[in-house]
Symmetry: C2
Subunit: 216 residues, 2 copies
């Protein structure tokens, strides 16, 4: 179902959210008080408007109350961020996402009714740090304190061996979920006969400690 989104604040984060939602086929109203920010995005969203979102009349005139989801992506101006989030909830928008500067700010947003609080810079900081520690980890999803899914560059020792021979589950306590071969080829749930080739990316589930025992 095509949904209606309003994105308020077109910094790097807000612009990226708005463009992606538009690409995914949804209606996007993008708003910023800064004219330049609005001009830049005009071609990439359904409607782009230059306005100060603290003005309730402007929001009403644009029919914002009928939108499904609002994203408040204002960063530095905490007062505007909080005030606008509160106003959007009071107008009856069912799902309001707000970008927080800090944990304290996040708590205020939660109290005034924000449905989801996001910390883009902090989250990406955690991701980058984890990526830097093990340079062969390309991406990961934390499953629990102990377990994660990791995308890793296949260790050199594994190359030209089959999964059956490597016996990774017994030797390293890792499960291979998928193998990415080349740009757009992927083997899901690979069997024992599957051989690991150079430049393969392994998608594995394992204990975080198991990861550090893998060869490079």
């Amino acid at each position: 179902m095509r949904k209606q989104f309003v994105v308020i604040g077109l910094g790097r984060f807000g612009t990226s959210v708005a463009k992606t939602l538009n690409t995914l086929g949804h209606d996007v109203l993008a708003m910023d008080k800064d004219e330049h920010a609005v001009q830049v995005i005009t071609q990439d969203v359904t409607q782009a408007v230059q306005a100060d979102a603290r003005e309730e009349e402007t929001l009403r005139a644009l029919g914002v109350r009928n939108f499904d989801v609002a994203i408040v992506a204002i960063g530095d101006d905490l007062e505007a961020n909080i005030l606008i989030t509160l106003m959007l909830k009071e107008m009856g928008i069912p799902y309001v996402v707000a970008k927080a500067q800090s944990v304290q700010h996040g708590k205020v947003l939660e109290k005034i009714g924000a449905d989801k609080i996001v910390y883009p810079e902090q989250d990406m900081g955690i991701r980058l740090a984890n990526n830097l520690i093990r340079t062969n980890v390309m991406d990961f999803i934390e499953l629990s304190l102990d377990y994660s899914i990791f995308e890793i560059i296949a260790p050199t020792e594994f190359i030209n061996k089959t999964l059956g021979k490597l016996n990774l589950r017994a030797v390293y306590k890792i499960n291979v979920v998928a193998i990415k071969k080349g740009v757009d080829q992927i083997v899901i749930a690979p069997g024992a006969d599957e051989a690991i080739e150079e430049k393969d990316i392994l998608v594995i589930v394992c204990n975080k400690k198991a990861l550090s025992r893998l060869p490079d």
Copy 2:
């Protein structure tokens, strides 16, 4: 192996990178020209210094040239961001990560030798937009154009049924990699007897189109 990291620019992103690296057991030198930003992080890193990182002497005096990895997390001041990245590479730091404002900025950083360019706000914008489209998707890793790993809230229809009975591979073409049960319990590679319970999170590998065929 304990590595030495220097993080320059302690905004939200830089602070998060520095704190996480420290938590993961590495040496972190954190630097900002703003005294307040430095004070806030002092307890959470190996060393925190108030200095303008454009001053080459300061960097030399701190022994920055011997560090393994540098992260340039300066945002708004493009000139400082580019100048400092260049200087760090010229000093011989093997791996320099730089935060870019835009694709054009990223290209400049690449030309002057940055080893990794990051776009924290843009990346999180793409992630949030994807999450908003299907509200039961909690996290994901893109495996290829067609396939992803998704963390989804178990659809209501699946609750109190075993994987064997649901036969998800045949019916929906999805593979269940793991089931998250409660805060820190996880079943890796669940068998046919495993039952899905309320509030379970399913970790699945599937075609992106298969995901949209799942019940809510």
